[in-house]
């Protein structure tokens, strides 16, 4: 785990600047707390798993029905 990246992520979620007193406190705590590090690490990995979920294109048949319902011509570009 990249600690700085993780800290940035935590601070972003907290709405804090990475150099804010709160983020400094978080950094200090993370440095000394294996339990919190493990927690952050596991959450980060779950997020990564879901971020890698494929975003499928609209299936052709669904696409055809959509344009028909809307009575529009799909752009050809």
């Amino acid at each position: 785990m990249d600690c700085i990246e993780t800290l940035k992520q935590i601070c972003e979620e907290l709405g804090e600047d990475i150099n804010s007193p709160l983020c400094k406190e978080v950094e200090e705590h993370l440095r000394n707390c294996a339990k919190c590090c493990a927690h952050v690490d596991s959450i980060k990995k779950v997020v990564r798993l879901y971020q890698n979920v494929e975003r499928p294109d609209v299936p052709d048949a669904v696409d055809v029905r959509l344009w028909k319902v809307l009575n529009l011509q799909k752009p050809t570009d």
Binding site: K45, V46, Q51, V58, V62, D63, W67, L70, L72, Q73
Partner: protein, 189 residues
Amino acid sequence: MEISEKELVRRAKQGDRLAQAKIVNDYEKMVYNLGLKLLGNEEKAECVLQETFLKVLQALPNFQEKSQLSTWIYRIATNQALMRLRAKKRQLVSIDDNSEYEGKGYSAFVRSLNADPLDDLLNQELKEKMNIAIDQLPENYKTVFVMKDIEGLALKEIAEILDLSLPAVKSNLHRARVTLRNKLSEMWN
């Protein structure tokens, strides 16, 4: 030549069919995937897709342009999906289900993540478990999680779409992530 969003909306509002088609073309994948992830069902995702764009085209003349076009379309799509989600009998997860380190499968789950998480994406069983876990999330967690961690929207935009405060979005997102982690841990056992 590319035209600005403002010009595209202006033309679409005036009934320009090419402009309307461009809007649908630009956002159909986004709407379909939102419906698919929130409802976990291709047929229902198609319904959301059709209903959203019928509504978008109908409501375009009244679009005030106070938000970005994408945010406005996302809001309509989310409302359509949530209406269907609420109608669907679903298994509720307690919002207090926040035990973070306990759970028999947690260690095994974390070990599997440490082993090679991205390769695991190829594993159909894992994909199914991920889909089940997300499907079981309470609606308010699921919506925020899908928008932020799968669709990649900014937290501020999510707050605007869902008409929630930023702290509420962050809180729901964190609870969603922890709940998902715990659910996947349980399933791994």
